[in-house]
Amino acid sequence: MSTLLAIVVGCLYAAGVYMMLRRSLFKLILGLVFLSHGANLLIFTVGGLTRGRPPVVPPGATGLAVPSADPLPQALILTAIVIGFAVLAFSLALFHRGYQTFGSDDPDDLKVSDQ
């Protein structure tokens, strides 16, 4: 499965990059979401996959009897998901304001602020 997921990760990154390069801020933000999915799955895959055994100690026990999924990548991903959400919400608001101000969804119209 890790091989399959590796390919999925690649596809998500590719999709993200492709979308970010489109002339649409909407696609740009979609692309960002895909990048963050890709990164999350990458952590998940690289951290090692274990089927179906959540890292929760049964009541009464003090440790896990059987090897279970690595909890650390999960915690990292959780943090990353939340941060990704914060970033997404802000980008959406930024886009929203931008659209209201310039009336355009085309990033090429943002050219004037540079040289």
Partner: protein
């Protein structure tokens, strides 16, 4: 010694205040400092004449090898006396010349800063300290040349001087550091002691060449000379001080200083003699072609600097003595002539020699000083200029290729005799011509300088034993690195040098008489001058600016897509090269344990991804995005991550809601990139994807037991929780979570502000929220409404500039 240097800087800080308080007397008052310093340094004359050397040393930045070490030997003493002596005269002169100027206080400050820097330069023993002061002189001369800052010409001239000398300064810095590396020390005193081994070091020649660049730029040697004439934009007191007597001699000083280390090496002799000789000839010729008093003087200064450089290149006791004598003589007469030129300009309103004549009647004292100095410049006895010139001829006659060198010197001197006539005699003799301002005698403050210098010229010519002998001997001793005894005298008997002097004088008079002809014929080939180094400088500047604009338009194009593309390409390129560029690493293919429902899940996910990629409808694309998110959440479920799954599920739902809220009302996007762009992007995207896949495949092998084993073990016993992920979040790695909720909070504040804070905001809740903000703190703005003030503050010019920006106003009602 250190106090002597620092006092100048301190006084510079106080000068503007003093000027406000003392007004007309400020110049006289400020001149007291250099006067005291001159006397102070003069007291060393006896001891140094008898071979003593004085040192002072303080720690400054020892870890970088910079010690504030100073040495006073003959050479330093000569310069110190020149700097301070001229300083006295110039400060007094400036007070009269610039009387009533609103920025006179600043002028004093800059002059004093310059004086102190120059003093530091000639006293420094550490090469880096020397460099520090070197740069300070460049910088203060920048401020001084641009003193008339309202004029674009003055600003351009200041910049030109700064760039040329500053550029040379950087070469000098590299050279000095290399020299320090080669010699293992940055102290001049210890470098000179190991001159022989140093010269053999492979770094010595590059170091020397770099240092020469620095010295040549500062001392206006060909091809860097062009900044000096244009620096005549500065008010005359500044030109007199910086561009005749002191700053331009800094390069010569440095060469003299390093002479004990390098003199005699082929590079040294060749470069200095050739460059110096060229500069000397060219300066003399160009001086003759000018009609502006200050420019004539400037070019003749260039010529003199060339002469000095040439003598240092020739080397040996005779040449060095000649150089030192010439240096002193030149400072005396050239300083006086500059001051005279200023006085003439000040009293008549013009500096054009063709419009000046017969001034001796209106300005007798000025005329007297001018005459004496001009004669000294022409090398007539009994003035000091004569002695210097005799010595020079003796030196050239004794040099290698003496015919060549002597001829050049004679030709140059002929030209300079003519120039001296143009500057010092022509305006004062003959018929009186009307001038823009009716001419009358200059005030005492303007006369003091020229007259004093003239007197010194005569005195040192007549009785050189009165200190001058000693001073120049001591200076030559320092330059040669071995005792040198000069016995200056007006009469040497009938020598070849005397003959040359006579030829020079006759030739000079001849050229002076026919200078009209010379100038006319020269103006025919005037176009040649635009080919000179000044033209190169302008061209280089333009090219550089063109390059800058071109490069910036290319790189900082404003297209976000290109920025992204570059960034992604750099990522893929560098990472890919590091990973695959040097052989293929082993990968862990692992197809066997795939379950069929997993394949289904992945297929669904990829399908949805494709949907988000290709679907035209925004809602459909968002829905596809949601599907991908839920699939990811399912992956988490399958692989033992219920917390993740739950969070991912909730977040994905929120995401979709947000997307819908934002995009629901917007029209479809209709812009489609060109096919070629799509292909290009697709390739880049694909390569990125492949790289990431490859990274995952290569990066999975576990080399060490992960630290999470500790968490599993201690979650219940020490973390008091059975859900290990949550214990990690709130305890094991709680700091991450603290940061994470901060990110969330900040984002929320940002979203709120973005949506609520705006230009045409209805005065809703936020306005009242603002409450009684301290009015005086936001005070200078006049708008009543808080929202309106937004525009006052730092509105960006990016849009203001481009009124015709293609972007429409927002379509929100």
């Amino acid at each position: 010694m250190t106090v002597a240097i620092l006092s100048g800087f301190v006084l510079a800080l106080l000068a503007p205040t003093l000027q406000r308080v003392a007004d007309r007397r400020a110049g006289w008052a400020l001149a007291l400092l250099p006067l005291i310093l001159s006397l102070y340094f003069a007291t060393f004359l006896k001891a140094i004449g008898s071979g003593e050397v004085f040192h002072a040393r303080h720690e400054w930045v020892p870890s970088l090898g910079i010690h504030l070490s100073f040495t006073l030997d003959g050479l330093s003493l000569l310069f110190a006396l020149l700097i301070n002596g001229m300083g006295v005269l110039v400060l007094v002169y400036a007070g009269g010349y610039m009387a009533g100027h609103p920025e006179l206080g600043r002028l004093y400050a800059f002059l004093l800063m310059f004086m102190a820097s120059m003093l530091g330069l000639v006293l420094a023993d550490s090469l880096l300290v020397l460099f520090v002061f070197w740069e300070l002189t460049s910088f203060s001369s920048y401020l001084l040349i641009g003193f008339d800052h309202d004029r674009a010409d003055a600003r351009a001239a200041a910049l030109r001087a700064l760039l040329v000398t500053g550029g040379g300064g950087l070469a000098l810095m590299a050279g000095l550091l290399l020299l320090g590396q080669a010699g293992g020390s940055l102290e001049l005193s210890s470098l000179t002691t190991q001159a022989d081994t140093l010269r053999e070091h492979p770094l010595a020649t590059p170091a020397l060449l770099l240092i020469l660049v620095g010295a040549f730029t500062k001392s206006a040697q060909f091809p860097f000379h062009f900044w000096l004439p244009s620096a005549m934009e500065a008010p005359t007191p500044i030109s007199a001080y910086l561009h005749s007597a002191t700053m331009v001699k800094a390069g010569v000083y440095l060469l003299s200083r390093l002479s004990p280390v390098f003199a005699g090496s082929d590079v040294w002799i060749g470069t200095l003699t050739v460059v110096g000789g060229l500069t000397m000839l060219m300066g003399g010729w160009l001086a003759l072609l000018q009609s502006d008093l200050k420019r004539i003087l400037a070019y003749s200064t260039v010529s003199a600097l060339g002469t000095l450089t040439m003598f240092l290149g020739i080397g040996g006791p005779l040449a060095v003595q000649a150089a030192m004598a010439f240096l002193l003589g030149h400072a005396l007469y050239k300083g006086a002539l500059f001051l005279v030129a200023g006085a003439v300009d000040h009293e008549t309103g013009t500096r054009d020699v063709d419009r000046l004549s017969g001034l001796r009647r209106a300005m007798p004292f000025t005329a007297l000083a001018a005459g004496i100095s001009a004669l000294s410049m022409a090398g007539l006895p009994p003035l000091f200029g004569f002695i210097a010139k005799e010595l020079s001829y003796e030196a050239t006659l004794g040099a290698a290729w003496s015919t060549c060198v002597t001829t050049a010197a004679v030709v140059t001197n002929i030209l300079l005799v003519a120039a001296a006539g143009v500057v010092g005699l022509r305006p004062f003799l003959g018929q009186t011509l009307p001038t823009p301002k009716p001419a009358h005698e200059a005030p005492l403050s303007l006369l003091l300088g020229p007259l004093t210098l003239s007197v010194v010229s005569i005195a040192s010519g007549l009785i050189p034993a009165m200190g001058v002998n000693e001073l120049l001997s001591a200076a030559s001793t320092s330059v040669l690195g071995q005792p040198a005894d000069i016995d200056l005298a007006l009469w040497h008997g009938v020598t070849p040098a005397l003959g040359l002097s006579a030829i020079t004088l006759l030739g000079g008079v001849g050229v002076f008489a026919s200078r009209g002809l010379v100038r006319k014929s020269a103006s025919c080939c005037g176009r040649v001058s635009s080919w000179g180094p000044a033209g190169w400088y302008e061209l280089a500047l333009r090219r550089m600016n063109g390059l800058a604009v071109g490069q910036t338009q290319l790189l900082q194009s404003g297209y976000l897509r290109y920025y992204l593309m570059m960034t992604v390409a750099a990522t893929v390129g560098l990472t890919g090269y590091a990973l695959l560029g040097r052989g293929t690493p082993a990968t862990a293919w692992n197809w066997f344990d795939v379950k069929f429902y997993e394949v289904g899940l992945v297929a669904l996910m990829l399908l949805a991804t494709l949907g988000a990629l290709l679907l035209k409808s925004r809602l459909a694309a968002v829905a596809s995005l949601g599907v991908v998110g839920y699939c990811v959440s399912l992956v988490f479920v399958l692989y033992g991550a219920p917390d993740l799954a739950m969070t991912q599920f909730l977040v994905e739902t929120l995401t979709v809601i947000l997307f819908v809220l934002v995009f629901y009302h917007l029209p479809e996007s209709r812009i489609v990139s060109e096919t070629s762009a799509r292909w290009r992007d697709a390739v880049l995207a694909l390569v990125t994807g492949v790289l990431m896949t490859a990274l995952v495949l290569v990066g999975t092998p576990e080399n060490y037991p992960p630290i999470s084993e500790y968490f599993v073990e201690h979650s219940v016993t020490r973390g008091h929780g059975r859900n290990i992920v949550n214990v990690i979040l709130v305890d094991f790695r709680g700091l991450d979570t603290l940061g994470e909720i901060t990110v969330l909070s900040v984002a929320a504040v940002g979203v709120h502000a973005l949506l609520k804070l705006r230009r045409r905001s209805d005065s809703g809740s936020e306005t009242s929220v603002a409450g009684p903000a301290p009015v005086e703190a936001a005070g200078m703005l006049t708008q009543k409404t808080p929202m309106g003030e937004l525009h006052q503050e730092d509105r960006d010019a990016g849009d203001d500039r481009r009124g015709s920006s293609p972007i429409r106003e927002g379509d929100k009602p």
